[in-house]
Symmetry: C2
Subunit: 917 residues, 2 copies
């Protein structure tokens, strides 16, 4: 009986499935929609938002979305699931009803577009096919409906060109070959003596259509499809296939988008912005995506197709005069005042609906406004922070939402250097302020060069007429991007803002010559490949040479925002700083202490290295002590400076860590130099270098092993710390030194070094007649330390996870050597990400969690932090919050990022708890 | 109420403690004893056995033992616990009663000895003081009692000499100075024209006593103590202090004896073997400690002190004629037939009582036999095995006891090479067969040289008149020991047997000249420092040059014993073997399969390295495949050989592991050579070498990372394996290949490589129209692999712990570099032992246990082994048994050791279980 009971509902479900086939197609239009924004994973961002817009009564050309599930299916089997064909045909008939036209009808033809739409926007990465449904018969209907033969013929030649290229693959066959369609067109233009495309007549364009079709037939030995449905399926297939073209794959790699998400396909009725002067097309943001200012920001082109705006070939006009507009330039609010008002209303409706800044595309077809797309607008960090702060003031969102809304990683942009205003440079050219920040680099004129030069460690500015999706890797490698054409929403501008790279776009002041690899400004300044230039992306200015920059500060909206961050965060954020300067910078960004002060960096300063080398070359303890005595006052001064800069906040100081050979010269010439300087025989130094040489220095005589071999080094460092602490204490200032022993693998190592520290502390306190509170703890940076954390905690008063080394040893992976294969591991998906960037939760993370659990089992109130570079990585910060660390420590400029990540981790936890309740 | 109940018994105990002070002194004598063998930790081996002997009615001079607890107390505070003094005095009075003499009585004086006695025997390492109680008054009593003035005076001068040296520290003050006591004696002998000590008269000896006392007073500015109790306490203190003298500390280091065990002190009535011709002293073993043969084995000296036998200065006489005795040599059974019979009876009583072979010391004082010591006899492995097997036959012990009794590590001795009998060499000298085995090395004449030469990688034979405890380190470093003096129980013989080092002792055929650093045989052959000689420790023969040796085999008692081992062991034992020869050897020692076959070792053979280098230098996959094609038939041949040698037992083959630069030359000359040979420019090779250079090769491009970068390598290796397996299968022989992917850190790495292996297998099976069963598994040798073993087990069909690398990464310790500090870590007690020798249970062991648990959670029947060098270390084998591994794998010659360790682990577990039940 029991078995029957459980068995029967299953059978019913199975029957139901057979009865109602899976829904692959979601219709939208006429104020209704099958889907909505909540179905983003299934319908992609674009499709979900088209459905959402249609659902809230915004005028959207009717259409339907084929789900991402179909893409995944298609990727695996190169075929479509059963039932899709019928669903698509039904949906096409719905579009016909909604738009009052018929697909393939020679009298009243419906034209449709096929567009990609993934979960997250991948601008320009995948294929699009427009004007599907055009053939030798339907063109007559278009001519009849528009009374514009040239428009119809132009649409037809665009369609055959695009379809022939994208769907049928008629392209240059070698790198040297020109585009075959363009070649045919160029030949005809030459024959006709035409300069521009616009100089060609309707008949010329029809002739082009014939020649294009002949080209296709010659190449593929089959005719260009005339059947509208055949065209449609070809377009759908091309979009699905474009998910896996190399440029899309590399975009996903850069942005961490999984390959199995797939794209949806949006099939939608065409509307035309190029049907004459009562038509236009535009792109807009509900707020300024560069600054976040709350005004309607956007551009349009009259009598143009939508792609023309984004492609950056013509420089478009602004929507309005909220910002200064050059003399003679027209704006939408003056050219189409009624439609501008309607559009502005839609802007406000969308922001209220989505409670976030939107990026929209619109088309005006013969006086009617259609919205083609809305999505969350990409913005600079500056804009993101301002928008978040403003929207809280406007009561659109609350503080928690504001804090959760900003990707911590993007704050990095606000921490980029700006041009030093005191330098007061004179710009040599002025363009659009497309993406803020100061970019300093050597000019290069191709994305390939940009990538190659950057790989060699050079800083470059990529200079192009305009950029295209193929340039993505080069753009990512550049310090800044400068284009001579295109507007604020051009490819270069959008992508640069997404990457946080400074960009000056549409800089008509310069003439770019790819062949000579140089550009010349209107003022006659010539900049050739390799010359240094500087961009001010916030002002849109270009300068010659390398201009001085200044460090960023935490002010204005950013300060307000970080104040809210502090209200939510539980995990503390400290900084890794080795100098009073770094310490002060980090404090200004909100660091609550120093989590790692590396004393060895101090050893390289000025003449100190001489004393260090003298110590290393000493034959015995006496000689070492003599040299250490010279270092003592210098280290003491360092610590006094750091203690004063941190004003009573805890300062974790790590004793000497690197292998001693790092302090010695290695080439013959350097050795001879040093020998002269030290008045010893070069042989002696060479012998010492050879003696200290190690097969695997990462796993050699370093960390506490040094301090155990030469306790006098630890003793000197401890003495410098305690003498400094006493000196600062005497000035009635608070000091909180935490002495950290590195590379401990066995509790006995820590015990030995702790004994030296305590003994030295007591000696100094007695001499100075002052006492200072201090802690002695250890780095947990070896697997064995984590595994035996319970034992180590009997001696350690705090732990700090050194996840750089812990990652190296846990993976058995030398960071110095991994460059040869680790990138390929990530690219191949063997590892989900670089474990030196984001903590490896399953492996290294398991050791961290174990270390915390075992450490606190012995010493329940054990203070635990992390001081590897993961401390500044948002994903890793979230992990640190989850496993219950007390603080993370990161480089000064990543402190705000870590703070935001910490606050988000806490908020997410709260949300999870609330969801669970 | 409940509280009261638990509280009251505690109070009672506390009261009792106050009432009865701690017992520090244990008396024995007159057929009674406070202690016994069960109190070994407290009384030391010697004390416990003296008590035990006294308890079973064996004639033992009365005495008492001061416990090891007092030593520990003394070490820490340099003072004695309260109550000791009174207990000692009471015990002295008991001795007086038992022996019928009085301590310090001028008429009937009692003389006593003070000797060390740790838990385990440390022969000759610590101090001893004899004849305590002698002074200018008591000597008269001794003369009166013995009627032998010369004997008394001799005892007195020995006492003052020994006490002055050992207790009062009157010794040479510089290395060049002679012993001051000896110098005085030599001067007197010169004055008297005496050749031997025996030529001195009683008056001469008395004069020596006076001069010795004057020497002490001159040096120390205080007189030699006359008070017997003062003498006694001085002696006790000297013995406790000698626990920490350098030679004792280094002995403990070599033998792994903890410093905090401490030594007991045995205070015992003196008996004299030098009271005339009715006196003698001897050392005996109840069976032959070199061969294990069951006859009464030992030596004695008539009219001699006990120390004379062990010190090896006079060559003593055998107890009996069980073995051939040189003409003219007398034996105890003929000289003292009655006492020999009594002694032989005691021998049997002791063996029955202890059920083990005993090492005894005895003294005959004026016709009365006294037993001074019994302890478990040190023996060679050969003797240990024979004794164990014989005692099972004799029904003294059962098989389990036999198996538990033998230290697995000592079996190594049976696996040492023997001299090849076919070589039929002619000995140049004949000595005593003191410790078996063949020793081949260069002659050196001091322990210091032996240690230094061995450190430089040279093989040495230490040649000495006799050895002393100061020579321990040199003896340990030598391949063999040759002494011109001393018997089978001399220091050299006992220590060499303990170490398993071949030794020819008492070789009167040679004359050793330390000054000229050479020895000359009776036959006139001269051997100087650095000349090669060969020892046959089993025959006691010395040969010139390096003689050929042959590998050991498993035969006779050893085979019988290993048969019993097999009855008890549960853990399997495989071998690490890369050649058919090694595989065959290991099988003959009982290996149940190959646990690790390193394919890269094959790459170095003959001309193969050329093809390997061609592969490395290839510019592309095509070039690599061309080179790999040349390697394929060679690897296939290797595997056919190995599969046939293992005859159906499983063979685990590891794919290529080391970084490629290991196969390339590195010096300029080598590079030029190779360039000529390969007909490429040296630059090309040098560039490749530079390109492959790594900062930390241990953590670089190696293991499966190679196979992922160059799948064609894995493919070739898999093809060689499967083609070989098919070839052997076709001959109707069974094959069980297990392909092991090294250095896996993430399951995806294994998955990729497994895919290559499976694809290749299917291709080969299709080509060959044969199928072969096989497994694909992985090394667990990175912490991350152990931490994510559950994930890895989804792909792995077996695990093999590579504990060498796992130890390196867990500790962050490069084996190549650790030599600089690891020995000092062990010496300082920071680490309890070298983790590369015995597995680090807390750290590495925790990962192994985790790997087993997680791996079996995913795949309950997962086969798991270990193939690091720990697989041959008994302590580690026990650990492997405990955590439930299926097998260990070790080098062929350690297979019997691992098997014995496995059997013992199982037996110990059973005992634990039985104890718990």
């Amino acid at each position: 009986m029991a078995q029957k009971k459980t068995a029967s509902p299953r059978q019913t479900t199975a029957k139901k499935r057979t009865a109602r086939p899976r829904k692959f197609v979601y219709f939208f239009g006429e104020g209704k929609a099958d889907g909505g924004a909540h179905l983003k994973n299934l319908l992609g961002g674009k499709g979900a938002n088209l459905a959402e817009m249609a659902g809230i009564g915004i005028p959207v050309p009717a259409g339907f979305t084929i789900t991402t599930e179909v893409c995944t299916y298609f990727q695996k089997r190169k075929s479509y699931p059963v039932g899709l064909k019928k669903q698509v045909e039904t949906a096409v008939r719905k579009i016909e009803r909604a738009m009052g036209a018929k697909f393939g009808d020679p009298k009243n033809p419906l034209l449709i577009s096929v567009r990609s739409g993934a979960r997250v926007s991948m601008p320009g990465m995948m294929d699009t096919v427009l004007n599907i449904g055009l053939n030798d018969r339907t063109i007559q209907g278009i001519i009849a409906k528009t009374g514009n033969e040239r428009f119809a013929a132009d649409a037809y030649r665009r369609f055959v060109n695009m379809y022939g290229d994208v769907v049928m693959g008629v392209r240059p066959r070698t790198e040297k070959e020109h585009d075959p369609f363009e070649e045919i067109m160029d030949r005809l233009k030459a024959d006709r003596g035409a300069l521009l495309d616009l100089d060609l007549t309707a008949d010329d364009l029809k002739l082009l259509v014939r020649r294009f079709k002949a080209l296709v037939k010659r190449r593929l030995r089959r005719p260009f499809p005339e059947d509208p449905y055949e065209q449609l399926w070809g377009g759908i297939g091309a979009v699905f296939e474009s998910w896996d073209v190399p440029r899309a794959v590399s975009y996903r790699e850069i942005h961490g988008i999984p390959g199995d998400w797939g794209t949806a396909v949006n099939v939608q009725a065409m509307v035309f912005g190029n049907m004459g002067d009562d038509s236009a097309t535009g792109v807009a943001f509900t707020r300024d995506p560069a600054t976040g200012e709350n005004y309607f920001y956007g551009e349009y082109l009259k009598n143009a197709q939508g792609e023309d705006v984004v492609a950056g070939i013509r420089t478009p006009q602004p929507l309005n005069r909220a910002k200064k507009v050059p003399r003679g330039v027209k704006t939408l609010d003056r050219e189409f005042p009624r439609l501008y008002k309607q559009l502005d209303g839609i802007r406000l409706k969308l922001e209220r609906h989505y409670t976030d800044m939107q990026d929209v595309e619109f088309t005006i077809q013969q006086g009617k406004l259609w919205m083609l797309q809305t999505r969350t607008g990409k913005r600079t960090a500056l804009a993101a922070v301002k928008t978040a702060v403003d929207m809280v003031t406007e009561r659109l969102i609350n503080k928690a939402t504001a804090v959760l809304r900003i990707d911590p990683e993007t704050l990095d942009q606000l921490l980029h250097p700006r041009l030093d205003p005191k330098a007061a440079p004179k710009a040599v050219a002025q363009g659009l302020p497309a993406s803020p920040g100061a970019g300093v680099g050597q000019a290069v004129f191709s994305a390939v060069d940009a990538e190659a030069w950057a790989k060699d460690g050079q800083k470059v500015i990529l200079v192009r007429h305009e950029t295209s999706p193929d340039d993505i890797r080069g753009m990512n490698a550049a310090q800044g991007i400068l284009t001579s054409r295109g507007g604020m929403t051009s490819h270069a501008a959008v992508v640069a803002r997404g990457m946080g790279t400074p960009c000056v776009a549409g800089c008509g002041d310069i003439h770019v010559d790819y062949t000579k690899e140089r550009f010349v400004t209107k003022g006659g300044v010539s900049v050739k490949k390799g010359d240094w230039i500087t961009l001010d992306g916030a002002k849109g200015e270009v300068y010659q040479g390398q201009l001085p920059t200044i460090a960023p500060t935490l002010t204005g909206d950013f300060r307000t925002f970080m104040g809210w961050v502090d209200e939510f965060m539980k995990l503390g954020v400290r900084t890794n700083a080795d100098t009073p300067h770094d310490a002060a910078v980090a404090r200004s960004f909100g660091a609550e202490g120093i989590g790692l002060c590396r004393t060895e960096h101090m050893f390289f300063e000025g003449h100190r290295i001489d004393a260090v080398r003298e110590m290393i070359l000493a034959d015995d303890e006496k000689g070492r002590r003599r040299a250490l005595k010279k270092l003592l006052p210098m280290q003491r001064r360092d610590f006094i400076g750091i203690f004063e800069a941190m004003a009573g906040l805890p300062v974790t100081i790590r004793t000497l860590d690197p292998p001693l050979h790092e302090f010695l010269p290695h080439t013959k010439a350097e050795i001879n130099d040093l020998a002269r300087k030290m008045k010893v025989k070069p042989r002696k130094i060479a012998d010492k270098v050879a003696d200290l040489d190690e097969a695997n220095p990462m796993l050699g005589l370093r960390g506490c092993r040094l301090g155990i071999a030469y306790p006098e080094i630890t003793e000197m460092q401890a003495r410098a710390i305690f003498e400094a602490a006493c000196a600062v204490t005497r000035k009635k200032k608070k000091v909180l030194p935490e002495i950290m022993i590195p590379l401990v693998g066995h509790v006995n190592e820590l015990k030995r070094q702790k004994d030296v520290v305590i003994k030295t502390a007591e000696a100094v306190f007695a001499e100075q007649k002052t006492r200072v509170d201090y802690l002695v703890g250890t780095m947990i940076e070896l697997p064995r330390a984590a595994l035996t954390a319970d034992q180590i905690a009997t001696e350690a008063e705090f732990f700090s996870f050194g996840t750089n080394d812990l990652t190296q040893t846990t993976f058995g992976l030398s960071r110095d050597d991994a460059g040869k294969f680790l990138p390929s591991y990530v690219a191949q998906g063997i590892l989900p990400h670089d474990p030196f960037v984001s903590i490896d939760v399953d492996g290294v993370g398991a050791l961290v969690a174990m270390g915390v659990r075992k450490g606190r089992a012995t010493r329940p109130k054990l203070k635990i932090g992390i001081c590897g570079e993961h401390g500044g990585d948002p994903m890793s910060v979230a992990f640190c919050h989850q496993v219950g660390l007390d603080y993370v420590s990161c480089s000064p400029f990543r402190v705000p990022i870590a703070r935001l990540a910490a606050a988000q981790a806490k908020l997410m936890e709260k949300q999870t708890v609330e969801r669970d309740v």
